[in-house]
């Protein structure tokens, strides 16, 4: 693997670890509203107080409405809120099993530490970014796993078996490739019962994204299976009496593995984008849960787009993540 690909892989691992630890790393619950602080700008960390004294521990001031509301907020300098480590705060679930309250950093009540500002309902952008990453990134991984699993299994079957099985599966694949997936997803969303837990809705959407797109990996896997099955070592194994399943498992699947992995690195960002697109239109992950898509959805409003730059952050974060995935795909392809 090239150096770039290795860096990309490390970066991606780091990003995923960070979002897994969202509950601990985020100072607040992503759904908690601060109704007095909509669109608060990112907090300014101070080291020097009003009297000119230096503090090694950074601190923030509380924000209050500026006298002219059009100007936004101003800092209320009568009381400083030092940033502390390992503070007790809103409860969160660890690995879905037990509940914890300790956050890596935070400030004392009633202070607020919005390192990346707040959104239109006064919710902490950083906390939403981290928790939203869990949803957006894992939506991509899950959907990719689904489509690759299904696609390569069907593709290998088609390529290895040939004849009518091949014909049926490949015609079906063409049919699926012609489906306009965005409209299909919209239709599926409208068709689902409304009264459904958000987690279930989310999983369903992810499976639809993944299942609909099995055709492309299937074509790739089929191509490899077609060429591999005519190779001498496969013929030899067959002449020794090896069965189809054994041949696929032992000889065909390993040959397709590198192609499938490369494909995975390309598909994951694509599916992350699918979730972002759906949520951007308000049809994916439902409020108040955060996802990068529904966070970016706020930018549809002109005034948000021009007035509050920190609302762009989820989009800015998507760029390096996508670049890393593509660099990884390049590296995997070079190796293959």
């Amino acid at each position: 693997m090239t150096g770039t690909a290795r860096v990309a892989a490390l970066f991606l691992v780091a990003v995923h670890v960070i979002v897994v630890l969202a509950g601990f790393l985020a100072p607040y619950d992503p759904a908690t509203q601060n109704r007095r602080l909509p669109f608060a700008p990112p907090a300014r960390l101070h080291f020097v107080d009003e009297q000119g004294g230096f503090h090694s521990r950074p601190f923030v001031y509380a924000l209050v409405d500026a006298p002219d509301r059009a100007l936004g907020y101003q800092e209320e300098k009568s009381r400083a809120f030092p940033v502390r480590l390992f503070v007790e705060g809103a409860p969160y679930r660890v690995a879905g099993v037990f509940t914890a309250r300790t956050h890596l950093f935070g400030v004392d009540e009633p202070g607020r530490l919005f390192l990346l500002g707040s959104d239109g309902l006064g919710r902490d952008q950083l906390s939403r970014l981290l928790h939203g990453g869990q949803i957006s990134l894992f939506a991509g991984l899950l959907a990719a796993a689904l489509s690759l699993g299904l696609g390569s299994a069907l593709g290998m079957l088609a390529g290895f078996h040939g004849r009518w099985v091949d014909a049926v599966i490949m015609r079906l694949a063409e049919l699926f490739m012609a489906l306009p997936w965005l409209y299909l997803l919209l239709a599926v969303r409208a068709f689902l019962p409304l009264h459904m837990p958000p987690a279930q809705t989310f999983l369903l959407l992810v499976s639809v994204i993944g299942v609909v797109d099995w055709a492309r990996p299937a074509r790739l896997a089929r191509g490899i299976a077609l060429s591999v099955r005519e190779r001498d070592f496969v013929r030899a194994a067959r002449s020794f009496g090896a069965g189809s399943l054994y041949l696929i498992r032992r000889h065909i699947a390993p040959e397709t593995a590198s192609v499938v992995l490369t494909q995975a690195a390309l598909l994951v960002p694509q599916y992350v984008l699918a979730e972002v697109t759906l949520s951007f239109f308000g049809l994916g992950v439902a409020e108040p849960a955060a996802s990068w898509g529904n966070m970016l959805g706020a930018l549809q409003q002109y005034h948000v787009l021009v007035s509050y730059w920190w609302m762009w952050i989820p989009g800015v974060v998507l760029v390096p993540v996508f670049m890393a995935y593509h660099a990884l795909a390049d590296g995997l392809r070079a190796r293959a």
């Binding site: 239109g120 309902l121 308000g282 049809l283 108040p288 002109y302």
Partner: protein, 579 residues
């Protein structure tokens, strides 16, 4: 024609003019109380979508109506500022004591934009066109009172009488929506059944004859609609200057609100209307430069509300939904939800503070009908808890609300994804009700899908939507309040009212429709408002403010909260004499 004969004709008409003025058909101009402005100049305003037609008989979309509003003359009009009726092409009118007969005296000497005189025959002709089923006019339904069409009679060339089957409250308001059509132009087309083709978007401007302040000059699809001053318009100011003041009025097609804001900001357009609170804020920053001024007219007639599904779900295979309906159908539950909602926060966060919290579905902007005693109450979780406790609800150890049988209370709140303010209100409601131990799931769908759930499938729990109305009169809300009405959202189109209070509303609304005296109608409608506020089939939330702007130097800019907010007095808009 030689230059000489042309000169003779000009001379002849100049000589004849004073003689004609002495005749009984002397032109009776309406004198407008406007500030005298300079004659000339032009006005530019953005239009959000393409007009579909310029035919006043069949227009339904707002873009078409915005343009037609300036081309048409009506017998009586609703003054958008006072919200009351005032004379227009009818000089005056009288209503019989039983409220069934209207007699209108028409203005004499009025001419159409092509110079042809206007009289009672045009009124009778227009009436026939609107009532003819072949023409599919949306106004036709309005002209059926007690199931029978309103009949028109010509008493003399300048007097017409209208006869109604039964009394109809505020009947004169109907005339505001009916443009008078030129009989001399359209009669043949109507006889041939070709009205829709006779006046369409491709008709030559000269053939679109009307009685409005402007007439069509040119239309470039996808780009602009240009109107020019109607030289025969029948209004003048106190100094005797014939209105309208400006020579030309252009509608620029600008498809999005954001683009409209930018065009207004850069001075391309002279008027801005229907601004959102956020864009208003963006524009306010540039107001100090002095090129334009903005106006917050306060709450309009539009209001947002939350409602629960109160329909009958038995036999629809929606048992789980029907189970949850036992809460929704409990009035104490609805009152508790209403008390727990933070309308102040909704106004601040979803509308930048430019919205009024509501305690009744009639907004404070509706001057003649708002009931002051039904003002919004501040949020009170204590009151909400007390209401629930009294109704047999209790709280589990984890704080979740449970009904008398121990089932945790949770429901889905639906709204349309494209409306950012409603999505925000839903998120705030979710947070508010969580404090009460109610678990709310916000679901945003495409608008079409939301309406489909509410009106057809009925597989939903609660929903946030808004209503806007064209007129400040209870009559336009008949289809909302009658239990048989298609817009009776919480339980539409019932065969018979399913609750006693819905039956009471039906009775009161039907009564007020045939009551003539305002005071009496007011008493009946107050009672409707009280019943609605007590039973909360719609939990009123907010009425957004109407936000508009105009370029500096525009005189007689008197925006109002009734449609069209800024162009309703277009004939009086003009530029101040100074450059």
């Amino acid at each position: 024609m030689s230059r000489r004969t042309f000169g003779l004709i000009v001379l002849a008409s100049a000589v004849l003019a004073p003689v004609r003025a002495a005749e009984p058909t002397r032109e009776e101009l309406l004198v407008a109380e406007s500030l005298p402005a300079a004659r000339g100049g032009r006005l530019v305003i953005a239009l959000r979508s393409e007009p579909k037609t310029l035919n006043p008989v069949i227009a339904t979309d707002s873009a078409s109506r915005d343009v037609i509003g300036l081309l048409k003359g009506t017998l009586i009009r609703i003054n958008r500022e006072t919200q009351k009726t005032e004379p227009a092409l009818a000089r005056s009118w009288a209503v019989s004591a039983d409220g069934r007969h209207y007699t209108l005296a028409l203005r004499r000497g009025v001419r159409f934009s092509d110079g042809h005189p206007f009289d009672a025959d045009d009124v009778v002709f227009s009436w026939q066109v609107y009532l003819d089923e072949k023409n599919h006019s949306p106004q036709r339904d309005l002209l059926l009172v007690g199931g029978k069409p309103i009949a028109v009679r010509k008493l003399d060339p300048y007097t017409v009488a209208f006869d109604l089957e039964e009394p109809y409250a505020a009947g004169e308001r109907l005339f505001d929506g009916l443009a008078i059509l030129p009989r001399h132009v359209l009669q043949k087309a109507v006889q041939d059944g070709k009205l829709a083709e006779a006046w369409s978007l491709v008709t030559a401007p000269a053939e679109l004859v009307g009685l409005g302040p402007f007439r069509l000059k040119s239309y470039a699809p996808g780009e602009r609609v240009v109107l020019e001053r109607n030289p025969n318009y029948w209004k003048a100011d106190r100094k005797g200057t014939r209105l309208p003041y400006v020579d030309e009025l252009t509608f620029l097609l600008v498809p999005s609100e954001d683009a409209q804001v930018i065009r207004f900001q850069s001075g391309d357009t002279d008027l801005a209307s229907r601004l959102s609170a956020e864009n208003f804020q963006v524009l306010a920053a540039g107001e100090k430069a002095g090129r334009y001024r903005l106006q917050d007219l306060g709450p309009g007639l539009e209001y947002s509300f939350l409602f629960f599904n109160l329909g009958d779900l038995t036999g629809k295979g929606l048992d789980a939904g029907a189970r949850r309906q036992t809460w929704f159908k409990d009035v104490a539950f609805r009152r508790a939800v209403s008390a727990a909602l933070d309308r102040e926060a909704m106004a601040r966060l979803a509308f930048g503070g430019r919205a009024a919290p509501l305690g009744s579905h009639v907004t404070p902007g509706n001057k003649l009908w708002a009931k002051a005693s039904l003002a919004a109450k501040p949020r009170s979780l204590d009151r909400a808890r007390q209401l629930l406790k009294d109704a047999g609800y209790s709280w589990k150890s984890d704080g979740a609300l449970a009904d008398a049988s121990g089932q945790a209370v949770d429901f889905t709140l639906m709204t349309n994804a494209s409306n950012a303010a409603r999505v925000k209100m839903a998120s705030i409601a979710e947070d508010d009700l969580r404090e009460l131990g109610i678990k709310v799931r916000v679901v945003t769908l495409e608008t079409r899908a939301v309406l489909d759930q509410v009106l057809q499938t009925r597989d939903y729990d609660a929903c946030i939507l808004g209503f806007g109305s064209g007129d400040a009169d209870p009559n336009v809300e008949m289809n909302i309040w009658l239990s048989s009405g298609p817009s009776h959202l919480w339980n539409p189109a019932q065969a018979a009212p399913s609750t006693p209070w819905e039956a009471a509303i039906d009775r009161l609304m039907r009564r007020q429709l045939i009551t003539v005296r305002y005071e009496e109608r007011r008493r009946l409608y107050d009672e409707v408002q009280q019943i609605v506020a007590d039973n909360l089939p719609m939990i009123p939330l907010l009425a957004p403010s109407i936000l508009v702007g105009a370029k500096q130097g525009l005189l007689n800019f008197r925006p109002a909260i009734l449609d069209h907010y800024v162009l309703w007095n277009a004939e009086e808009l003009g530029w101040s004499a100074k450059p």
